[in-house]
Amino acid sequence: MTAALQARHVSKTFGGNRVLDDVSLAIEPGEVHGLLGQNGSGKSTLIKILAGYQDADPGAELLIGGHRVALPLPSGQSQSLGISTVHQHLALIPSLSVVENMLLGRLGRSNAMALSWRKARAECAAVFQRYGLEIDPAATVSGLSAIERAMVAIVRAVEDLGLRSSGSGPGVLILDEPTPFLPKQDVETLFALVRRIVARGASVLFVSHDIDEVREITDRATVLRDGRLAGTIDTKASSRDEIIKLIIGRALRADRPASEVAQGAPAKVAVTGLSGGGVKGVDFDLQPGEILGLTGLLGSGFESVVYMLYGAIPRTTGTLRIEDETTPLAEATPARSIAAGTVLIPGDRNARAAIGILPIADNVTMPVLSRKLNKWFVRRGPMHQLAQDLGRQFGVVPNRPEQPLSSLSGGNAQKVVIAKWLQTDPRLILLDEPTQGVDVGARELVFDAIRGATRKGAAVICASSDYEQLAMLCDRVLVFADGRVGAELNGEQISKQSIAETCLRGASKLPDAL
């Protein structure tokens, strides 16, 4: 039998860094094939190459339906060759109707002059009926539920595959992490759709972190580890532990004991009943000087916790107690949090943490203009002096407060952001991916600065999906699963491997892990 898609010797090098090394992948017609691997395993690079967004290094071969396809794929043309990708963000326009979204790709390429919406709606309804979907083509996408939106995007991708001129098999649909934000029963609905799609002859490449889902829906799976092929497995015949072992590359240890009870001193910070968005009633507390890590897989809810505690996400409930002050989080705002000694260092530096076009001095003095400077007479001199002192203290190079922040390297810009907040001597420091896009040397300085703050008694909560960073920085790590704390790792138990393993175990939406 000819494979629906066969990729051989795919490598990709960024700078001197080889992120994909001689990976091969074969997908049979009518097969659901899983693609597994941790963050940084090369999974997303491989998908980008197959989708035509990135070129592979020379030497790679790609066959679709047995026909050799020239690499690199012409940008945006992979669909006409038989590969259609549904990304996690779905690429739907929420304010348009379902039928308009269904026609998006087709209208983008054609110059049809006499569109009949009545006919388009009827065709769309017929397509939905074929796949067993009960969605009104005239409805607005923003009014659909998450699962309905996902199914519209998937059906659109499959239908667009059918429009190809060249007949090289029924084609391959890539589903890139379609499930993390879906509840369990909706995942079943989605799987039913996937089964109907493969029953019609197409193949599906199913990319996911969730091992149980991969075992349920796929026939075989390819596992990547550190950019290399770790193995291709028959998923039905493999146990969960065997798959985890293949993903993280070593044998599984026995289950961990339940979390240790915090010893001695009364907690400095206590969070109770934190709920809202994807978080469902979370409690935890911190000792003075403790660095607590929060992690989990995409969609597990950990990434919004720090923003919720800061009062930056509306409709949050629960309480935050710092020492003996208790704040209901429904009333928290960033300004009140800062006044109470809580600071947040956001992850996305350019969009949330600093303004690149403004000088370093303006960025770093932003939260203290009224406190450390005369607010009715802000002078450049004292402002630059303040910024210069902070730059020296946090090792910003070059330390020139009048330069725009965007002139600094990523690591130095991050030092400015850290300095901006740590100068206020906060009691609670909230971090979101504190070293994203930061080189190794600067990372050490950032860690030093955070540890320095804990020596003054501050408690730190650090949300990150960089397990190595968590292992280096944290005293304790909470692993989230499905909006709750799924597991807690303490002291000796914390390593890059153990965090990865716990995340993968916790990803199960089935209760077998508990």
Binding site: P334, G395, Q403
Partner: protein, 334 residues
């Protein structure tokens, strides 16, 4: 590790040392203004260089300068106030109707006019921040509404007969031969420069304009800042309306709207000078008089008044292109 900066810092040259390109950029518009002035002076020495013309240019266009200065307040927080010229009309009509038609004192008419500006600004801010509608659309709507109210109040008539005291304190009295209204504009520029440059409040407006999410996460109440900026432009627009009424001694419900485009042109052109890349008071003032000199000079050369539209329209486009170039061609976030 912490000493890293010290070892690198030693050979640094001071970044702020006079840099010719930077200075040329800052003062380019000032130089262009001087060149233009000299050019028309040489071409039309008798008329253009007469003191009457010079003081006339300074005085008669001071209202435009005040409108342009008012605009840079919401522009700095990244909101457009398209209602400002109509607020000017409304305020001038309120003064004229209350004072000339109803016979009320200026002490009542002027506060009422200022209140109307505050009100329009507050309404703008409410719709923009509460309903999250783009400022461009909200202010076009409220501006059109204000213009309707002004036309209704005045019965579509020019209302003259405003108390001479107003004209006296706007255009008649002179200091060093220049009508006092010019000094009002300079005073406003000074105040705005101080607020934006030297108060925490003014810096917050800039932060909100340049990084709304960064500002929100830095504990700045971004809605309040945007709202305040719009109220300020409404108030200053009304102030400009009162002064406009003073320069004319009358209120005309149809003429004031022509301030909108030149004011925008001046604000954007001003953002390429003095503090390039930022809307700034002194740059705006220079830009207003650059445009005024250009138009007056061309009219003296025998061009018809249509040259005004050509010049303002062209200047707005050139200004936006220049300011984009100064920003390094980053996408404008409207």
């Amino acid at each position: 590790m912490k000493n890293l900066s010290a070892s690198v810092a030693a050979p640094l040259k001071p970044w702020s040392r006079l840099n010719l390109a930077v200075e040329a950029e800052r003062f380019g518009l000032v130089i262009a203004l001087i060149v233009l002035f000299a050019l028309f002076g040489v071409l039309q020495p008798g008329t253009f260089l007469s003191w009457g013309n010079i003081s006339g240019m300074l005085g008669s266009q001071a209202v435009l300068a005040i409108v342009a200065l008012a605009l840079i307040v919401p522009l700095t927080s990244n909101d457009f106030d398209m209602s400002i010229a109509n607020v000017l009309v409304l305020a001038s009509v309120i003064v004229a109707v209350m004072n000339a038609q109803m016979g009320l004192s200026l002490w009542l008419a002027i506060p009422a006019a200022l209140l109307s500006g505050l009100l329009v600004g507050a309404i703008n801010g409410f719709f923009i921040t509460y309903f999250r509608i783009h400022s461009l659309i909200v202010t076009i709507a409220t501006g059109t509404f204000a213009s309707g109210v002004a036309t209704w109040m005045s019965g579509s008539q020019t209302i003259s007969g405003v108390d001479f005291a107003l004209m006296n304190y706007v255009i008649v009295k002179r200091l060093f031969g220049v009508p006092v209204v010019f000094y009002y504009a300079v005073l406003l520029a000074l105040v705005l420069w101080y607020v934006f440059e030297h108060t925490a409040m003014g810096r917050r407006v800039l932060f909100v304009g340049r990084g709304r999410e960064v500002s929100r996460l830095s504990g700045i109440d971004t809605d309040r800042v945007r709202w305040s900026a719009l109220i300020a432009s409404g108030f200053l627009g009304a102030l400009a309306g009162i002064l406009y009424c003073g320069t004319q001694g009358a209120a005309d419900p149809s003429s004031g709207a022509s301030f909108q485009l030149p004011a925008f042109a001046a604000a954007f052109l001003g953002s390429t000078a003095i503090q390039p890349g930022r809307f700034n008071a002194w740059g705006t003032l220079v830009a207003v008089y650059f445009l005024v000199i250009g138009i007056t000079g061309l009219v003296f050369m025998g061009m018809s008044s249509f040259v005004q539209s050509l010049f303002y329209g062209g200047a707005l486009l050139v200004a936006v292109v220049l300011s984009q170039w100064v920003r390094g061609r980053a996408e404008q976030q409207f």
